[in-house]
Amino acid sequence: MKKFLHAAGGFCAGIANGLLGAGGGMIVVPMLIKSGLPIVKSHATSVAVILPICVLSASLYVRRGSVTLGQALPYLPFMLIGSAIGAWALPKLNRTLLRRIFGGLMLWAAWRMLF
C-alpha cells in the first residue's frame, strides 16, 4: 500500500514537473507525510524524489529548444544561496507562517495568470 502511494505520488509529481516545470514538491511532501514519514523527513526526501525527475524534464526542455542553459545561468548563484539557507533552516523552522505568506503570493499570481 505504501509503495503504491509512493509510486502514485511520484507519478503525479512527474507530470506536474514536466508539464508545468514546478509543483512536484507540493505533491510529494503531503504524499510522504500521509505514508507515515515524519514531517521534516518528508520535506527533505521530496528533494531526492524531484531531483532525478527534474534532470529528465530539464534535459528534454533543452533538447526541444524551449530554453537554453545560458538563460538559466544568471539565477543560479542566488538560487544556490537560497537553497543553502533553506536546507539549513528546514529542521529549525516554523513553516506555517512561511506557507501562509507564499500561499498569498501564489493566489495573487494565480489571479494574474487566470484572468
Binding site: H6, G10, A13, G14, A16, N17, G18, L19, L20, G21, A22, G23, G24, G25, V29, M31, L37, I39, V40, K41, H43, A44, T45, V47, A48, L51, P52, I53, L56, A58, L60, Y61, V62, R64, S66, Q71, A72, P74, Y75, M79, L80, I81, G82, S83, A84, I85, G86, L90, P91, N94, T96, L98, R100, F102, G103, G104, M106, A109, A110, M113
Partner: protein, 124 residues
C-alpha cells in the same frame, strides 16, 4: 531595481525549493509576470536551476540522515514516467493555455497553503 527583484525572487525560490515547498512556483511567477518571459522558457529555466540547488540541499540532508531512500526510490522511478508524459504534453499545449494551467495549479496550492493547519515545530 530590476536586479534586486531578480535576486530576491531567486533567493526565495532557492529557500522554498530546498524544502519542497513550491520554490519553483516563486521563480516562475517572477519570470513570467515580472520579467515577462514566455511560460515554457520560464518553466525550463526553473527546471535547470533546480538541479544544482537540489544537489546542494541533498548534501545537507544526507549528512543529517533526513532522507528515506526506499520511499524516494519508488516515487522517483514512477516520477520519471510522469515527467516523460508531462514534458510531452507541455510541448503540445499552446503557451497561453499552459500559463492558465499553471495559474490553476497556483490557485489550488495557494488556497491549500493559506488555510493549512499549523504543523508542529521540530518533529523529525
Amino acid at each position: 531595481m530590476e536586479y534586486v527583484w531578480m535576486a530576491l525572487a531567486a533567493t526565495l525560490s532557492g529557500i522554498l525549493g530546498a524544502m519542497g515547498m513550491g520554490g519553483g512556483g516563486v521563480l516562475i511567477i517572477y519570470l513570467t509576470l515580472i520579467a515577462g518571459l514566455d511560460q515554457r522558457a520560464a518553466q525550463g529555466i526553473n527546471l535547470i536551476v533546480f538541479i544544482p540547488c537540489a544537489l546542494l540541499a541533498l548534501f545537507f540532508y544526507l549528512k543529517k540522515k533526513l532522507i528515506d531512500g526506499r520511499a524516494a526510490l519508488f516515487a522517483a522511478a514512477a516520477g520519471l514516467a510522469g515527467a516523460l508524459a508531462g514534458t510531452w504534453l507541455s510541448g503540445m499545449i499552446e503557451t497561453g493555455v499552459l500559463r492558465r494551467i499553471f495559474g490553476a495549479m497556483l490557485l489550488f496550492i495557494g488556497l491549500r497553503e493559506v488555510f493549512a493547519k499549523p504543523q508542529k515545530k521540530s518533529k523529525s
